[in-house]
């Protein structure tokens, strides 16, 4: 509604950016329902390691996915300073464990570049593109793909 109208290179999108490990990621703000601190999860039997278990989000039982582990970068050593981003995508609501939320980013479609070939294979399936800002590089994640993959892969696991 009150967006700046100073440039006009295509439709504008807003992303919430967050850090996980050494990287900065972005997720479409429309998929983000809320952000909350880390709480201990209840583990789920036979779940892949990146599914950290479930938490009680005001009466809803919410699975929590460790983003770093999901991208094949190892488990996050979660402590209360970590943040769970509540994501709604692919008809599901899940929590995404990340290190911290950093920013809200407004970019035009032209600012997003396709994933470079050398990106890690484990990541690329969820990566929509790379937003390059003057001094930062933000990996844009496709929440539908990330959340959707959880179901498909977990079944095979």
């Amino acid at each position: 509604m009150h967006q700046r109208q100073d440039d006009s290179s295509g439709p504008r999108r807003q992303f919430i950016t967050f850090r996980s490990g050494a990287q900065e990621f972005g997720a479409d703000i429309m998929a983000i329902r809320e952000i909350r601190g880390w709480t201990e999860t209840t583990p789920l039997p036979h779940a892949p390691d990146y599914v950290r278990g479930v938490i009680n989000l005001r009466g809803v039982v919410l699975p929590v996915v460790d983003l770093k582990a999901r991208l094949g970068l190892g488990l996050t050593q979660a402590n209360p300073k970590h943040v769970i981003v509540v994501v709604q995508a692919a008809d599901r609501t899940i929590g995404l464990l990340v290190d911290a939320v950093s920013d809200i980013l407004t970019v035009t479609a032209g600012d997003i570049q396709p994933t470079p070939e050398l990106a890690r294979e484990a990541q690329s399936e969820f990566v929509e593109g790379i937003a390059v800002l003057s001094e930062r590089l933000v990996t844009i994640l496709g929440m539908d793909r990330l959340v959707g993959s959880l179901v498909g892969e977990a079944k095979a696991a």
Partner: protein, 122 residues
């Protein structure tokens, strides 16, 4: 048009989200982390365009804080938006009776936040 907005919320994450969304839209943001801090901010602040407050806070809750605003000589006519998680009529009515101008239903959505701000402040 740039506005000066006071946000009162005990959740750091929420304060940050509000600050990011509001400053991204070009507004100036003053933050307070509960009702008591909010009252202190009222005393120091110049004219405010909008106040956004949470309800459940330690020391002084949102209803108490709204009462303070409505009694404040300088800020009594400032529109107040309440942050609420429940989209239910009872909560809204309670907020209205306390003197709130409007509300923003969490989960947080910048577009709705900015729309609500625009609805209470020209």
């Amino acid at each position: 048009m740039s506005k000066t907005i006071l946000t009162v919320d005990d959740s750091r994450t929420m304060r940050d989200m509000l600050r990011l969304a509001l400053s991204d839209a070009g507004h100036a943001v003053i933050q307070a982390d509960d009702g008591v801090a909010g009252v202190a901010a009222l005393a120091q602040a110049g004219p405010l365009d909008v106040i956004i407050t949470d309800i459940n806070m330690p020391r002084m809750d949102g209803f108490g804080f709204i009462g303070e605003v409505r009694r404040h000589p300088l800020h009594r006519a400032t529109p107040i938006l309440v942050l609420t998680t429940e989209n239910d009529a009872g909560k809204k009515q309670q907020a209205r009776e306390a003197g709130a101008t409007g509300w923003i239903v969490k989960p947080f959505d910048p577009a709705r936040l900015l729309a609500a701000v625009a609805r209470v402040s020209p």
